[in-house]
């Protein structure tokens, strides 16, 4: 009898150790697993590599994690935002490494990891600073850059509903990176607004099949009330 539904965030997160590579879902704060991030902060692990589209907003969530100094490196596409002051300060002080990846390459490198591909030729970024030093190839009239998979030890994501086998459905644009990160991490921990009985999720509507999810934690708040910035990404 498999039950991936966990009661206690602290217990679930305790398997994360110093030096872990962690994907965190979300686009800005939409889909950001705020409660899991808070749990990660409380855990006090260090020397982390974080993969996220952004580099935190305001003083909460991912930004607060950065502020604790727990993050050695961030891989993202859009760190600079009007409310990314935590990251900005760390970056200018040379206290955090940044690997800047075009958003679609971030997505397809995460997908490549989940799909078990060794590398992919992507057209995005060809001829730009972000492809400097990278192998390129001319294929069928177009130029491509060779990009390697981004894997992670853990993915922390936010879904709307989940069952005890780990099946997930998301809500609106909070879906974003969740499904592909779940496929690319060794251990995926999903916070959900609601745990439902097996069979309540229609097999036609499941977005992330349970095979990609190791733990499901129901959280009190849906963390949808977090204030949003109006800045770019």
């Amino acid at each position: 009898m498999i039950n991936k539904a966990e009661k206690n965030i602290t217990d679930v997160l305790s398997q994360i150790k110093d030096g872990a590579t962690i994907m965190i879902g979300g686009f800005g704060t939409a889909g950001q697993p705020a409660e899991l991030i808070d749990g990660l902060i409380n855990l006090g692990v260090k020397d982390l590599v974080i993969i996220n589209n952004n580099a935190g907003n305001g003083d909460h969530g991912l930004a607060r994690l950065l502020k604790t100094g727990a993050v050695r490196k961030i891989i993202c596409s859009f760190p600079r935002q009007s409310d990314s002051w935590v990251f900005d300060e760390l970056y200018h002080a040379g206290k955090i490494d940044l690997e800047l990846v075009p958003q679609g390459n971030l997505a397809c490198r995460i997908q490549a990891a989940g799909m078990g591909l060794g590398a992919v030729y992507t057209p995005t970024g060809f001829g730009t600073l972000l492809a400097e030093g990278k192998e390129t190839r001319h294929i069928d009239g177009k130029d491509y850059v060779l990009e390697y998979p981004i894997k992670a030890d853990f993915a922390l994501i936010k879904a709307n509903k989940g069952d005890r086998w780990g099946n997930l459905v998301y809500r609106k644009s909070a879906r974003n990176f969740g499904p592909i990160m779940a496929m690319a991490a060794d251990v995926t921990i999903a916070q959900v607004s609601q745990t439902v009985d097996l069979g309540e999720l229609d097999p036609e509507h499941v977005i992330t099949p349970g095979i990609f999810v190791q733990h499901v934690v129901q959280v009190q708040s849906a963390s949808t009330s977090t204030e949003l910035s109006d800045t770019a990404a």
Binding site: Q103, N105, I110, T122, L130, Y170, R175, F177, L228, A232
Partner: protein, 219 residues
């Protein structure tokens, strides 16, 4: 050189002009900032499908006050609504739409556009600036047609349309058309062809405000 008196288009007028070139049934990604305005000028008798990087297709206008949903935002992190017939999908599928040539038109802002269609819009190359790229490079290489919407010159009067980029490139040879507050330019194999100018503008004056050689195609 004497200047004729001409009427500079407002941002809304540029957006309105660009909107005219978006056909019924087009799948369109409007870049963050100025291009977003185009949505307001799309005719109601057209079905234009707006795509957003973060996994939305056929999203609609801003919600009514009090109806905002933090989990229904566009790539500019503005609240939006969903039209009947819209869909949600993950980032992988969203960028497949962009990279895979499924988006008909994207309209981007620009720091510079070069005569060969190179675009710079992600970095000024400033020493201490924090770099950020988002989906700009994917849109530049992936959409079937890439339009730029921009002021013709910078605030300090420097040309944004140049013979060669001085800012870091976003995408090579990617721009098809440029909408500015002074004109419309098609990027062609022969060069930058000016197809329209604002009232009162002379070709010579426009050329003087431009850092690359223009071709007069207004006739």
């Amino acid at each position: 050189m004497s200047h004729t008196s001409y009427t500079v288009s407002t941002r809304d007028q540029i957006a309105e002009r660009a909107a005219q070139d978006i056909p019924d049934g087009a799948y369109v990604n409007l870049g963050i900032g100025l291009p977003t305005k185009i949505a307001q000028y799309l005719s109601n008798d057209k079905d234009v499908f707006l795509h957003s990087e973060n996994g939305l297709l056929a999203f609609g206008p801003s919600p009514a006050k009090g109806e905002e949903d933090p989990e229904l935002i566009n790539a500019g992190k503005e609240y939006v609504t969903m039209l009947d017939g819209g869909s949600y999908f993950h980032h992988g599928d969203s960028f497949a739409m962009m990279r895979g040539g499924h988006i008909d038109i994207c309209v981007l802002g620009a720091f510079q556009v070069a005569a060969n269609g190179d675009l710079a819009n992600w970095s000024t190359g400033a020493e201490d600036a924090i770099p950020a790229v988002g989906g700009a490079m994917d849109l530049a290489v992936g959409a079937k047609k890439v339009f730029v919407m921009t002021n013709h010159t910078t605030k300090t009067g420097d040309p944004k349309i140049v013979s060669e980029l001085t800012y870091p490139v976003t995408g090579k040879n990617c721009i098809d058309r440029i909408y500015t507050d002074l004109c419309v330019i098609d990027v062609t194999d022969k060069g930058l062809a000016v197809t329209e100018m604002v009232d009162g503008m002379s070709f010579a004056d426009l050329q003087a405000l431009t850092g690359a050689t223009l071709i007069d195609a207004t006739k």
